[in-house]
């Protein structure tokens, strides 16, 4: 029978490396996805995944067994991503090479997904690059992670209203950039 996350955490706490390895194997790809969306860079995302599991290992005694391990881990990943983005801001480095290697590493998309042409993909990439780190984070947390606005505010250290506005600004920027691409579809329908 497959070991549950909670059982694996319990064994990892007792020093069972194989149990922690199981958690890494089970969750690393999902954590990569959120890290990539937050950082927009594959190498950064890999670093965030690594840092997330290191922090999880250090903090594993603080994990409450009634909680969901995946949610707990995602929260750590979000914080690691934020730390990385803030560190990048401190070093005045600009987000330049965001979603730049999609074609090189992506597998074939699932059949039922909307498949974007290379040109559209580039435009979505360019639109995402226009978001500030805060806007990007707030948008990813709301749109992809489904995090409530209050939680986003806490995560970013801003008021609820400010979090709402940040999400709104992100969506508006995306809409301004991408709306011309969807209008022809509207006309045809």
């Amino acid at each position: 029978m497959e070991m549950t996350d909670v059982a694996a955490v319990s064994r990892a706490r007792d020093g069972d490396a194989d149990a922690f390895r199981l958690l890494v194997e089970r969750h690393s790809r999902a954590i990569f996805r959120v890290a990539w969306r937050m950082t927009g860079n594959e190498h950064d995302a890999d670093d965030v995944v690594q840092e997330t599991f290191l922090r999880a290992y250090r903090q594993i005694d603080g994990f409450e067994e009634r909680a969901n391990f995946s949610t707990w881990l995602h929260r750590i990943a979000v914080n690691c991503s934020l730390d990385l983005l803030r560190s990048r801001q401190r070093h005045e480095r600009q987000y330049t090479n965001g979603l730049d290697s999609i074609d090189a590493t992506s597998d074939a998309p699932e059949p039922d997904r909307v498949v974007l042409s290379a040109e559209l993909q580039q435009q979505v990439t360019a639109a995402m690059k226009l978001l500030s780190d805060n806007e990007r984070t707030a948008f990813v947390l709301r749109h992809f992670e489904g995090m409530p606005v209050e939680e986003i505010g806490k995560t970013l250290g801003i008021q609820v209203n400010a979090a709402k506005h940040t999400i709104f600004r992100a969506v508006r920027k995306l809409r301004d950039s991408l709306e011309p691409l969807v209008r022809p579809t509207q006309c045809n329908t």
Partner: protein
């Protein structure tokens, strides 16, 4: 009819507000919502780079090394403290022996036998891990491209730790009369000190350091010493590493 503003539309889309009634009655706002959703669908469709089936294994390999290093670091400090305590105990024993009346003195060898023998295992175990770490650092330097500057700022704290532990082990080895360990640790210490102070090595500094490592055969000495160092304790992660290889 007053139309919904953009913020209200976004809030409705994410379920943070309910504007269904208005949207049902207002075709214009409904069309704007449709456009918004089409835009967001484009964002959803942007592909995330896929990490293949091998990714978890790769990630574990990266993590294992860092987790293992962290465990070793903690253990090394504990062992270093234990070794230092053993030295203190042995020193105290010697002192007491010297102060004792001539007839009651134990032979010197007997006086130093207990604590140093315990310290010997402790030292061998701790030094082995220390040598592993030092070898990794020196290998990274030796293999770096000498034509380019090398940023070693991320390795600074690691080098600082190594300098501290290197001193403890070197002094302990000298006191125990283990010239072989003491000599190698003396040889590598200047390089570790230099690394602990360097945030960034220019290509010239890097080349100079590589020359020193090579001319003094530091890596070779480290490897020979490491291979001859008995380490009775192997932690779980190390065992796991062997199992995975």
């Amino acid at each position: 009819m007053q139309h919904l503003n953009d913020e209200e539309l976004v809030a409705h889309h994410y379920g943070d507000a309910d504007a269904a009634e208005h949207l049902h009655a207002c075709a214009e706002c409904a069309a704007r919502l449709t456009t918004l959703r089409q835009v967001l669908a484009l964002v959803d469709a942007a592909e995330v780079p896929v990490r293949g089936a091998e990714y978890p294994e790769q990630m574990w390999n990266r993590l294992r090394w860092r987790l293992e290093r962290r465990e070793r670091k903690t253990r090394r400090w504990l062992l270093a403290i234990a070794a230092a305590l053993a030295m203190v105990l042995a020193g105290g024993e010697l002192l007491r022996n010297r102060r004792a009346p001539a007839g009651t003195r134990q032979p010197l060898a007997a006086a130093t036998a207990t604590a140093p023998d315990q310290g010997s295992n402790v030292l061998a175990n701790a030094v082995g891990d220390h040598l592993d770490d030092a070898e990794r650092v020196l290998t990274e330097i030796a293999n770096a491209d000498p034509a380019r500057d090398l940023d070693v700022s991320s390795e600074q704290s690691r080098a600082e730790d190594l300098v501290t532990s290197n001193r403890i082990y070197r002094q302990t080895a000298m006191r125990r009369g283990d010239a072989r360990i003491a000599s190698v640790l003396s040889d590598i210490e200047p390089v570790l000190i230099e690394l602990s102070h360097a945030g960034k090595l220019s290509s010239g500094e890097l080349a100079e350091l590589q020359k020193r490592i090579e001319s003094r055969n530091l890596l070779f000495k480290l490897r020979v010493l490491n291979s001859r160092t008995e380490r009775p304790n192997h932690n779980l992660l190390a065992a796991n590493r062997m199992h995975s290889l």
